[in-house]
Each structure stands twice: as structure tokens, then as C-alpha cells.
């Protein structure tokens, strides 16, 4: 029988070949997930659009100059203190909220701020305006945005914990885990979101030259 004489293929080098391929893929692989601060740009205003007049106390003005120094409400401030100041501003609740579908949202009954008449009326009226110089470092700009988002998420977490016994982060995760189909969770998420809406506007940068 000729079958018996068929020599067996030597598979000893198989491991070497596999190793070579393995090392190639090990080197080329990148496992990083793209993550970033999400922002929504405002739409382009139509020609001749007159921006509505906003009370000065409802605007939280942040200036970053080209030396990466902060000026918050005309006072110099360190980046570490920005979160606290932002929370104080948003959570002030010194007046009535804005009209939604012609119905006033009334006073902010969940705010724990000082209710001072010199600061913002209601979280849904509180606008944060970030003005930066063209020469400002991008890293600093992102840092400021991050502090502002931290302030918002702290307020949202606090409210959510009080109302639904879980933080907003957990709430959002639970909603995501339900494949965005759980109506009850959706309601809760959007309730917290409208209670503390993120209103961060980027003013056109100044250029010193």
C-alpha cells in the first residue's frame, strides 16, 4: 500500500509561524476607545438676527486670557475654585424660571443655593459664557470646559440621588443598559436633564493683535 509511505508533514514550525503573525497583530493593534468632551455647536444665526436681551445676573462670564489666566465675573480666579463658583451660580435659584410652552416653570424648588438676587434666577436661565483669547492654550480651554461639566454633573447627581435614590451617572447607565427602551428611565433622565440644562456658550474669541 502506497498510503503507508506518505510522509507526515512536519508541523513543528507551525508554532513559529503563528507566533510571527501574533507578534505582528500585537504590534499593530490599538485598543484605545475614542472618548472626548461632547459639545453641541449653536446653529448659525440668520442674517440680521438680534440676540435676545439677557439679564446680566443670569450670565456667568468666564474669560481666559492668552497667558491662560482666568477672570470669572471680573475677578481673577484659580481653576481649582471654578467648579464651586459655577455650582453656586447655577444653583442660586433667586427668581422665576423661564417660560416653557408659555407656562412658567416657577421658582426653583430643588435648588439649594443662596437665593441671592444678584445671581442667577433659575438653572434653566443660567448661562455660562466662556470667552477665550485666540492665543489661549487649547489644554486650558478644555480644562475649563471640564470643570464646568463637573459642576453640572455634581448638581445632577445630587438631584437625582434625592429624587430617585441613584446618581445621574447610574441612571444614565441603566437607561443605556436597557437599550434606550425603558420609558420610565427615559422620563427620569430627561427630567434631571431639564432641571439642570447645560447652557455653555462659547463667545467669539478676542484677538489682541
Amino acid at each position: 500500500m502506497s498510503r503507508k509511505e506518505l510522509p507526515e508533514i512536519n508541523a513543528g514550525s507551525m508554532a513559529d509561524i503563528a507566533f510571527l503573525l501574533l507578534i505582528f497583530f500585537l504590534v499593530t493593534t490599538t485598543m484605545d476607545v475614542d472618548s472626548g468632551i461632547s459639545k453641541k455647536l449653536s446653529e448659525k444665526p440668520p442674517e440680521g438676527y438680534v440676540p435676545p436681551v439677557i439679564k446680566k445676573r443670569n450670565i456667568f462670564e468666564i474669560n481666559i486670557n492668552r497667558n491662560n489666566e482666568l477672570l470669572v465675573e471680573e475677578e481673577p480666579m484659580k481653576i481649582e475654585d471654578l467648579k464651586e463658583a459655577t455650582i453656586k451660580f447655577i444653583d442660586n435659584g433667586g427668581g422665576l424660571g423661564k417660560l416653557i410652552d408659555g407656562v412658567s416653570t416657577g421658582e426653583c424648588d430643588y435648588c439649594e443655593g443662596a437665593r441671592s438676587t444678584a445671581s442667577s434666577d433659575h438653572p434653566n436661565k443660567a448661562i455660562i459664557s466662556v470667552q477665550s483669547d485666540r492665543g489661549t492654550k487649547y489644554g486650558m480651554y478644555v480644562e475649563v470646559q471640564n470643570e464646568l461639566l463637573k459642576a453640572y454633573s455634581e448638581l445632577r447627581n445630587r438631584l437625582s440621588l434625592k429624587k430617585y435614590n441613584m446618581t445621574y451617572t447610574e441612571l444614565e447607565q441603566a437607561y443605556k443598559d436597557s437599550n434606550r427602551s425603558d420609558e420610565e428611565l427615559k422620563e427620569k433622565v430627561s427630567d434631571i436633564k431639564t432641571s439642570y440644562p447645560q447652557i455653555i456658550s462659547d463667545a467669539e474669541p478676542t484677538s489682541a493683535n
Binding site: 507551525m14 446653529e43 489644554g139
Partner: protein, 153 residues
């Protein structure tokens, strides 16, 4: 006593017959998870800013990436912040065309979900980013993600 005092006759060879299987398993894992970098960077690999409040970008096919940083080839491209679209350094005015081109590649239904990811170096100027933002606003590409790293990763 003789049981313990017995001398070993050399170690038996470890059976390596299953080694290829193990290696193949690893190989397939990396083959599946690997993503080849589609574009080669013409700018210096941007050092992304750190931020804690980051969101993961889902649906990679709906993300168009704009790189901003210093050119690798400074002699040819000059100094200052450069914008890279696809695989070449471009001008701010090319962004509109770039976005339209990206939109053509997805179905019309998905266009509102498209996100632009800006991967910019920490040392960049905000002015450059603002120029990009204004151009994106002109073409109504309003969803933006400022790429950042979570510290500790």
C-alpha cells in the same frame, strides 16, 4: 526511605503539542480586535488634554476626525498649528468639502448622528479650534467631540 532517596532520571519534557492552539487562539483574538490606522499622521502625534467628564464615541463609522497640531515636516509645512483632514494637511476652508465628503459615505438617515471629533494637541491655540468650529457651523455639522483622555488610562 528508598522512595524519597530515589534519584530522578531527568525532567520529562513538557508536552508542547497544544502550544500552537494557544498561540492561534491569541492570534485570532488580536486579529479580531485590531483596527488598522487608516490615515498616517502628517502632524506630530497630538498630546490630548486630560478631562474627567468624557463620553465614549460610539458608532465609529459616523465619526469624522480632524487632527490639529504641529507639522512633522516643519521645513515643508512651516510652523504653527496645522489641520489634517484625511491624510494630508489642509486649510480651514477645506473643512466644508471634507464634511460633505464624509456625509456622502453614510446613508441620509444617519447624517444627523454624525459627530466630528477634534483631536488637538494641548499646546494648540484656541483660535485655530474656533476657526474650525465656525466652519463646521457653516455646514451644519453641529455635533462635536473634543477628544480627551481620562487620566489614569
Amino acid at each position: 526511605m528508598s522512595k524519597f532517596g530515589r534519584k530522578k532520571k531527568g525532567m520529562p519534557a513538557v508536552n508542547t503539542a497544544s502550544l500552537p492552539d494557544i498561540v492561534f487562539m491569541l492570534l485570532f483574538f488580536f486579529m479580531v480586535t485590531t483596527t488598522m490606522r487608516e490615515t498616517s499622521l502628517k502632524i506630530q502625534n497630538p498630546k490630548l488634554p486630560n478631562a474627567t467628564e468624557v463620553k465614549k464615541l460610539e458608532h465609529k463609522s459616523l465619526v469624522s476626525t480632524i487632527y490639529v497640531g504641529k507639522a512633522v515636516d516643519i521645513e515643508k509645512e512651516g510652523t504653527g498649528d496645522k489641520i489634517q483632514l484625511n491624510d494630508k494637511i489642509a486649510n480651514v476652508d477645506d473643512i466644508a468639502a471634507f464634511i460633505y465628503n464624509e456625509r456622502d459615505q453614510v446613508s441620509e438617515k444617519e447624517v444627523p448622528y454624525m459627530t466630528t471629533s477634534i483631536k488637538a494637541d494641548v499646546e494648540c491655540n484656541v483660535g485655530t479650534i474656533t476657526d474650525i468650529k465656525l466652519k463646521l457651523r457653516d455646514v451644519n455639522a453641529l455635533k462635536l467631540s473634543l477628544s480627551a483622555r481620562k487620566p489614569g488610562n
